[in-house]
Symmetry: C2
Subunit: 197 residues, 2 copies
DNA sequence: AATCAAAAATGACCACGGTCAATTACAAAA
DNA sequence: TTTTGTAATTGACCGTGGTCATTTTTGATT
């Protein structure tokens, strides 16, 4: 009886992720094809699907990792002083997601859950982001810089809603010279957080 | 030189839509397969794709029609007296979309655009919904029932954001006995529209 | 009626994600 | 060393959306 995955298996999984990341680097998320991944990793197609539920499951790990990295950056930047500065903190996230519709779709599909399976880095990232936002909002409330009549969790989830909204609009537009998502987010955030005076 | 589509063509298109609607009726949106549609319509696969850009294009017409019907209902119900009543007006829309993830995905993908191609009923529906909401919000502002410090258009788009947010969360949950989207929407709407006193 | 160019429809074909019964590699037991 | 049960891998196969060179239909023109 052996419950823990064997060494060989872990190596295969790591190789798949490595190769997938490399292909994404070269061709972008939309250019990732399962056949290419398994070919370059030197395994059969079935193997990939024994490691990841589906193509999205593989993408979720890659994207989840990146989201975690972005969150590290956010946290490192420290708590904002007001709503406008909060927009600045969120800009890297918007920039990342807005680069490819695949990222947006995947985050949207995975990021409402609260039940986290081992693989679900994306869900973990979502939870972490809401938690971080809630903490920051609480600080801002304490400092009297934003409205205090709503719990920080609600405000945080509302911000998530606005993030996705501006991204959704962004992807529907021919984004040649449109206002970037970060800019589009600002009025919503200000109106949402504005202290009831 | 003949620019207008010929009669035969229009008939084929109508038949395809008819059949597709019937199949959706029987199997739900997720059960709609292109092969079934063309088989029952008695045409070749290629024909379908000469009438609609892709499967989504076909779905968009079906769903767009339904959205239009819902908007008729909304308009007929008349302007709400306050934010809470607005939630009630939006409930049918939430109920409809929450019945199948396919609807949600499609609306999300199509409904940010402003450029409407002939077929894009969904886009037209989106524009109409924002316009209707804007009008209602303007009335509520005039009556002093909601905040007046933001333009009704911004408030309307914000509501769209919250609609999609609660739906997104809904589809990530195992919705056995969870709070339905309409219920989840309420706190957001109240907080968003609350007059700054 | 015969001709012909444009419109419409056709269906063999492809791409790509995903499945699963069969096979191989591995580690512990005999 | 051989046996054996299980973990891991394999790759032929499938479903389904989508393409496009070819064929059929249509209606205006002679």
């Amino acid at each position: 009886m052996t419950r823990a995955p064997q060494k060989r298996r872990l190596e295969t999984r790591a190789r798949l992720l490595e190769v997938a990341a490399a292909i994404v680097q070269e061709q972008g998320y939309s250019g990732l094809r399962v056949e290419d991944v398994v070919a370059r990793a030197g395994v059969a197609k079935g193997t990939l699907f024994s490691h990841f539920r589906d193509k999205d499951g593989l993408l979720a790990v890659l994207i989840g990792d990146e989201v975690m990295r972005l969150l590290d950056g956010m946290e490192a930047a420290g708590a904002p002083q007001d709503a406008a500065e909060l927009t600045v903190r969120l800009a890297p996230h918007l920039d990342y997601v807005s680069q490819d519709r695949v990222i947006f779709d995947l985050l949207l599909r995975y990021s409402g859950t609260t039940a986290a399976e081992p693989d679900e880095v994306v869900t973990a990232g979502f939870i972490r982001q809401v938690a971080l936002l809630s903490r920051w909002l609480q600080l801002l409330q304490a400092a009297g810089r934003i409205r205090r009549d709503q719990p920080p969790e609600l405000l945080a989830e509302g911000i998530q809603a606005f993030l996705n909204h501006v991204l959704g609009v962004w992807f529907c537009l021919e984004h040649d010279d449109e206002t970037p998502p970060a800019k589009a987010l600002e009025p919503y955030l200000l109106a949402w957080l504005q202290p009831a005076p």
